[in-house]
Amino acid sequence: MPLLRVVKRQEPLGWGSCLVLIAAICLSLLLGGIILFIGGTSPIEGLVVLFKGAFGNRYALEDAIIKATPIFLCSLGVALAFKLQVWNIGAEGQFALGAVGATWVALSLPEAPSYIVLPLMVVMAAAAGGLWGFIPAFLRQKLKTNEIIVTLMMNYIAILILDYLVYGIWKDPASYGFPMTAEFSEAAIVGKIGATNYSWGLVHCLVLGLIFWVFLKYSRLGYEIKASGDNVRAAKYAGIPYDRLVMLVMVLSGALAAWAGFLEASSTINRLQPSIMAGYGYTAIVVAWLARLNPFYIGVASFLLAALRVGVEGLQLDLQVPAAFGGIIEGLILLTVLAGGLFTSYRIVVARKAHEH
């Protein structure tokens, strides 16, 4: 005989959901504080340092925004596929191939001016990443092969392709044998906006995010994606070319992640090297879900997650907390925020008597 019952809310919680979110984060910080305490660090001091490192000054904000850029783009990509109920967990591999495609152009055209080389890099990156999205989509529609396993395996393959190239034919002779390509020419680098530390990549993000939103909301294709995502059978019945739609969406999804790979290679590292792979493609999945596939919330969530990661570095530096603590606090926040979601869509009521059906 249950004492508590959950009842669906008739109307959205509104501002209350902010409270739930804050409560969830507080709970996870409390748990994190306990872990810090066990590890011999003062929990209050630790959380203050974490917060300062993440949001405390201009530098911290800047760092977080820069770090959020690739996560945001990858997340837009997976969100597009998820809208269609296609489980693309291959952003990591599509990101890698995007970086490879862009690098290929940058290395082949060392003399070309910016207005030629940069667009070509984008096109090549999108083509390579798009191909990496197309293959699993094609297999899914034509042979009914599960896309989760194919995209996951193709992540490993893409990273090994990247490895093969930078350890082999693309290795810079001037790098003393270390696995990295030569530095890109000035023209192949996406530069910074004026005197700020922000790269023009940030503008790419804003524009792509806006296009994403408009595309889904107002275009016919966007409508078809939404309709097919809600109910495949009904969509097919209504004459939507579902197979082609899946392939197109996966190509676009791959291209978005690849764009992030292009920016990371061109703007932040200025070359290709194995450490370009930082797991953004997997982070993107978490971000996309947390943000309920909404581009605006994806922006917010990528920023917060990036800020958390930046803050943890401060925690390490100032208080010698092990890097693994970052994973703990990140996991705790995600789990509590997720669990808190219950309270935004349901009410808890005390049941006076057991309900019989």
Binding site: L139, G327, E330, L335, G340, G341, L342
Partner: protein, 306 residues
């Protein structure tokens, strides 16, 4: 390739497939109840560390092995709590569990890195191990490998031939109908999550107690993800999981042996083999015979009635 190379290769295939097999079986068990747990990697590593620490403290690998399973159950219970009680999204919860589990294991495990603990050593079965070829491949392994010859059969019997198993599958296949028939669907899903977590923990423990006898941060090194993939590869059937795990382990062992024999193929390309072949086999088998046993309600929560 001659027989002197082939037999050790196949024996290595069995051994390196075993940790993945435990985890794959665990994930099959969980997914059959309708819950998708992407936290396999995190659950495994918690099991690996717990098993190692208990072995170090008690000196008894048997206790350690069971403790690792229980630790896996505990880790998976977080996923159960978030998804079954709080209706959280299963994909995010699983990913978060992986992040959390790896973080916790590395945080707590750092002081023990590089240390060794008592574990399981190869234990050839008398008579059987003397059989030609098969003996060296299957019956000269350690006790934990022998267990995996029985566990898939037990899981199969449980899922297909017991009332409990039938109900568990119903909870994953048609939760609404199961509820209507009077089954406590949420209870069976808990069983799926906790039972599956137990096997994932065992898979982790295989790495720290038998495959090697030591602890290092990130000991599982992505094997949990392979397990997630192999569940699909196995069409959610325990028998095919054995095949998938040995195939994957075998190709991993093969590429190392190709290198040892002095091949000139770059190692990056050789390392692609296990992943590429997994996709290839999956494509072939889905082309040839598309039917899988994917649970109908996999990944969807049971919403409370309005």
């Amino acid at each position: 390739m001659n027989i002197e190379i082939l037999i050790p290769l196949l024996a290595a295939a069995v051994q390196s497939g075993t940790p993945i097999l435990y985890a794959t079986l665990g994930e099959i068990f969980t997914e059959r109840s309708g819950i998708l747990n992407l936290g396999v990697e995190g659950t495994m590593i918690i099991g690996a560390l717990s098993g190692f620490l208990v072995a170090k403290a008690t000196g008894n690998p048997y206790i350690a092995f069971v403790a690792a399973g229980l630790a896996g159950t505990c880790a998976a219970s977080i996923h159960g709590l978030v998804c079954l009680v709080f209706q959280g999204n299963q994909v995010v919860s699983g990913l978060a569990l992986t992040i959390l589990g790896v973080g916790v294991a590395n945080y707590l495990g750092t002081p023990y890195v590089g240390l060794t603990a008592p574990g399981f050593d190869p234990l050839p079965i008398p008579l059987l191990s003397e059989l030609p070829i098969v003996g060296a491949i299957f019956f000269s392994q350690d006790l934990l490998v022998y267990l995996t010859y029985i566990i898939p059969v037990l899981i199969w019997i449980f899922l297909y031939n017991t009332r409990f198993g039938l109900s568990l599958r119903a909870a994953g296949e048609y939760p609404a109908a199961a509820t209507a028939a009077g089954l406590k669907v949420v209870g069976y899903r808990w069983l799926g999550v906790l039972g599956g977590g137990f096997f994932m923990g065992l898979g982790g423990a295989y790495l720290s107690l038998a495959y090697t006898h030591l602890w290092t941060n990130n000991l599982t090194a992505g094997r949990g993800w392979i397990a997630v993939a192999l569940v699909i590869f196995a069409f959610w059937r325990p028998g095919r999981a054995v095949f998938g795990a040995y195939l994957f382990g075998g190709i991993m062992a093969l590429q190392l042996r190709l290198q040892a024999s002095g091949t000139q193929i770059p190692s990056s390309l050789l390392l692609m083999l296990p992943y590429a072949l997994t996709v290839a086999v999956l494509v072939l088998s889905s082309w040839w015979r598309g039917k899988t046993d994917e649970p109908g309600a996999l990944g969807t929560n049971i919403l409370p009635a309005d």
